[in-house]
Subunit: 229 residues, 2 copies
Amino acid sequence: MIVFYSKEIDGNSARLIDDECIHCSKVLRKKVGEEVFVTDGKGNLHQGHISNITKKNVDIELTKQMSSQKPSHIRSIAIAPTKNIDRLEWFLEKSTEIGISHIFPFLSARSERKIIKPERLEKIIISAMKQSKNFHKPTLHPLTPLSKILENDFNGQSKYIAHCMDPQQALNKLYSSGSNAIVLIGPEGDFTAAEVERAQANNWKEVSLGTSRLRTETAGIVACHLLNL
Amino acid sequence: MIVFYSKEIDGNSARLIDDECIHCSKVLRKKVGEEVFVTDGKGNLHQGHISNITKKNVDIELTKQMSSQKPSHIRSIAIAPTKNIDRLEWFLEKSTEIGISHIFPFLSARSERKIIKPERLEKIIISAMKQSKNFHKPTLHPLTPLSKILENDFNGQSKYIAHCMDPQQALNKLYSSGSNAIVLIGPEGDFTAAEVERAQANNWKEVSLGTSRLRTETAGIVACHLLNL
């Protein structure tokens, strides 16, 4: 079953644009009248048929709601983009498969990558969402300075900072399963001591993710999996 | 701290061969007398200095045992190699970082990849072991037919088969933390019903890894992480 993603669902009609339009009409060569499945990325899956095709849009008349997944608790990861962008892309794909609500890329003192291309990353997220049949599309937030993230109270979510300077407690011991939480994952060279202090002052709890020294993207996946257990 | 891996440690002397020799003498241009660190991949880390360099070997005189990590419980994953080899390589890197004892690649009815290159995969494992500072090198076993894996009793390890045909129990509920265990992860098209039946007959317990549909390599990482919690 191939599922398309539509940001524009209004009543019984959905519109595919950009990549989703191209995938449907050019790659798969779907025609008017053919049956298709559409998700809104908010947990809903619809069945319908194509009512119109233009160069820029595929319009779909929705006939049946197939399923509606309830939103889970909020699972957020703030992560420093990796020098090798493939590693960040892997993190996005895997965390979307496993289940994540928000991704906050940030810039910190030891960040090795200062630019990301949100359009490309968004495509990876949409593809992983469709593949996993987990129809809640995670929100990828704009690249932000770490200081802004640290000062944000995230509406009362439990806030954790995972670093390698021997934090006393493990995330899997501190985290209460099913509660809303955000975990900070540092860059390849880790957070600085000053950044960790500033986090503490802003009520972020220091945690470890186990005894191994994990790469940034592996730490991100491990934290994301813990928030899903 | 750069650590080299030596399969040949005998008393106070260690020898680097192949890639480790090239990395030490050609890439890093280390000279006789220089200080180096060496692991045997069995949990031990030594300090020493280079006593001799030839084209094929770097010999090291070990002067001090830095640390000795105890072996943990046995955490094994049997996995069908993915069509896209990058995905298997990614699994090997990440599972080595997180912590894994044995990897059993297998061939099943729906396997998409029938050949792997153990030498290349071994390099990825060694590199990830050194990077993670988790100095137990996982054992990569030869590609084996699934039937042989299913018939093996794995010395009393708890045996689990993770598949997508709605198994009733979740691995994180069934698995007793810290016990020896092996988890089977199927190919992209999943196990066949006949394979699952045969597994049941051989006392493998059916488990799920959560509600999302995970890719093969993601399922492998998730299972590996659960065995490490």
